[in-house]
Amino acid sequence: MPTARTAAGVGGVAAAVALPLLLSGPYHRHVLVLAGLFVLMALGFDLVLGYLGELSLGHAAFFGIGAYTTALLTRNFGVPFPVDLLLAAAVTGFFGVLIGAPSLRLKGPYFAIVTFGFAEILRLIVLNWTSVTRGPMGLPDIPHIGLGPFRVHTELGYYYLVLGLIGVAILVTRRLLDSTVGHAFLAIRENEELAAAAGIPTFRFKLIAFVIGMIFTGAAGSIYARYVHFVDPTALSFYYTVTVVSMVIVGGQGSIAGTVLGALVFTLVPEYLRVAERARLVIFGAFLMAAIVFMPEGLRGLWRRARQGRPDRVPA
């Protein structure tokens, strides 16, 4: 049903554009910017988990690479927007090749461990290379975005900037999936040995998906650094990786809509649960467990089951 999908897409875009205008006050808009950055990061992550079927535990490191690249370029060299964004994406992509080339030859838990190890090493370098990164003190005073006469300095401005990047990420993902390249990704996820026997250079396509995903993530990091004017080594912490993993798994891996939904739920629910004060994380934990037990295929799977009225799981 391409028309239904198009309608849903148009509706989604309209809602995303109108939403911050309906909300008043900087707080709600701030939450939306953060949600948008997480959506971008989660889309990058899902290219690896959802379409290659590999769990990377080093995702936050790539967010950090993007954030630090922009921080260093703008503070030390006065590099203007969007050059810093493009360079941050390129540097993150380069690290994607560097880390992906050895680790993507491994599978399952081994891949997860190597990516986790890489992220920790990088975090420790950032923490201790004080002459460049100022270590735990972080890099403050990252300038706002100025592009000729335009300046992006409000929550609203950043929101639309992030929304634009999300649009690009979704377009890139959709176009790849709707081509023989996407078939190669899916074949690798479903049965890597058979994919190779079918003539697909499996390693090359794993690397391509990984690097594209990391570029999305690095772009999110770059905008984040601009938006909060400050980065410190916590941007690379494992906490963010776990958050993104949860978003994609709860949302529904291998689905753009599911990933976006998961990232929104995981940013908005804990934020607005603040009214519950100390019970906040307890409630959120219970929610997460319920999600995993009752929705093994994520929010996306729940939606599909409700629409088709048939069980999602088919006996093998």
Binding site: V172, R175, L176, D178, S179, T180, V181, G182, H183, A184, L186, A187, E190, N191, E193, L194, A195, A196, A197, A198, G199, I200, P201, T202, F205, I208, V314, A316
Partner: protein, 254 residues
């Protein structure tokens, strides 16, 4: 020149020689069988020929060109397709998508045209989608195009596995125990299918335990035992070969 020439192929795992100096050749247009008791090294031979396992020694030539040392996807592009004993399909994709992926061997998926969504790229995808139906017609599965592969019956899954391999338009098709677990009716249908495949111009080499299938369709049979070739010939000769009888039925005493 034979289509496939295997020369002194050897692989050792530590102290165990799983395949020991095995040589045989497959002529164009024939259905050849590789048989032997469990652990004889049949599947290992397949993995050596298709590049999934590096040999310790020996050579494999296809149309006179060396395959030894090439990665699996390159060997597939040379025109050698294979199936696997276990899940030889993409379970969560539809039947049509499964076959479309099989066609990858003949085209190189490229990222930039996909991103730009060029007209050539779209035409290629449409062509691949349409050709998938032709291949599925051959295995009599074009009625279930949009069904997820994991929901198919076991017999249908075996047929789909062959369709995926055929989609790459190979010159040589290696089938690893295609009849395993099939009912007598299903294996009769399989034999007809393999015969049709040969008539369409594809040479077949199969590993199989089902003697009815092997003796029924193979033109030539190679028998392995403990990694060594003990016999080679037409089914008629193999059935009477003393070494083959000894390996399969045990030695006559007294």
């Amino acid at each position: 020149m034979s289509l496939l020439e295997v020369e002194a192929l050897t692989v050792r795992f530590g102290g165990l020689t799983a395949v020991n100096e095995v040589s045989f050749s497959v002529e164009e247009g024939m259905i050849a069988g590789l048989i032997g008791p469990n652990g004889a090294g049949k599947t290992t031979c397949f993995s050596l020929i298709t590049g999934f396992l590096p040999p310790s020694g020996g050579r494999v030539r296809f149309r006179g060109r060396p395959l030894t040392g090439l990665p699996p996807h390159r060997i597939a592009r040379e025109g050698v397709a294979r199936t696997f004993q276990k899940t030889s399909l993409f379970p969560r994709l539809t039947v049509r998508e499964n076959v479309m992926i099989g066609e990858q061997a003949r085209l190189v998926p490229r990222v930039w045209p996909a991103l730009a969504r060029t007209a050539a790229q779209r035409r290629e995808l449409t062509a691949v989608r349409e050709r998938a139906v032709d291949v599925l017609d051959l295995v009599a599965m074009s009625a279930v195009l949009d069904v997820e592969a994991r929901t198919l019956s076991y017999g249908e899954q075996r047929h789909l596995a062959i369709a995926i391999a055929l989609a790459s338009r190979p010159a040589l098709l290696l089938l690893d125990e295609p009849a395993a677990g099939l009912t007598p009716t299903e294996s009769r249908r399989l034999m007809e299918l393999i015969e049709r495949i040969r008539r369409s111009g594809v040479t077949v080499l199969l590993v199989e335990h089902d003697m009815k299938v092997v003796m029924g369709i193979c033109d030539r049979i190679v028998v392995l035992d403990h990694g060594q070739k003990i016999a080679e010939g037409a089914p008629r000769e193999i059935r009477r070969h003393p070494d083959v009888i000894r390996v399969y039925l045990g030695e006559a005493t007294g």
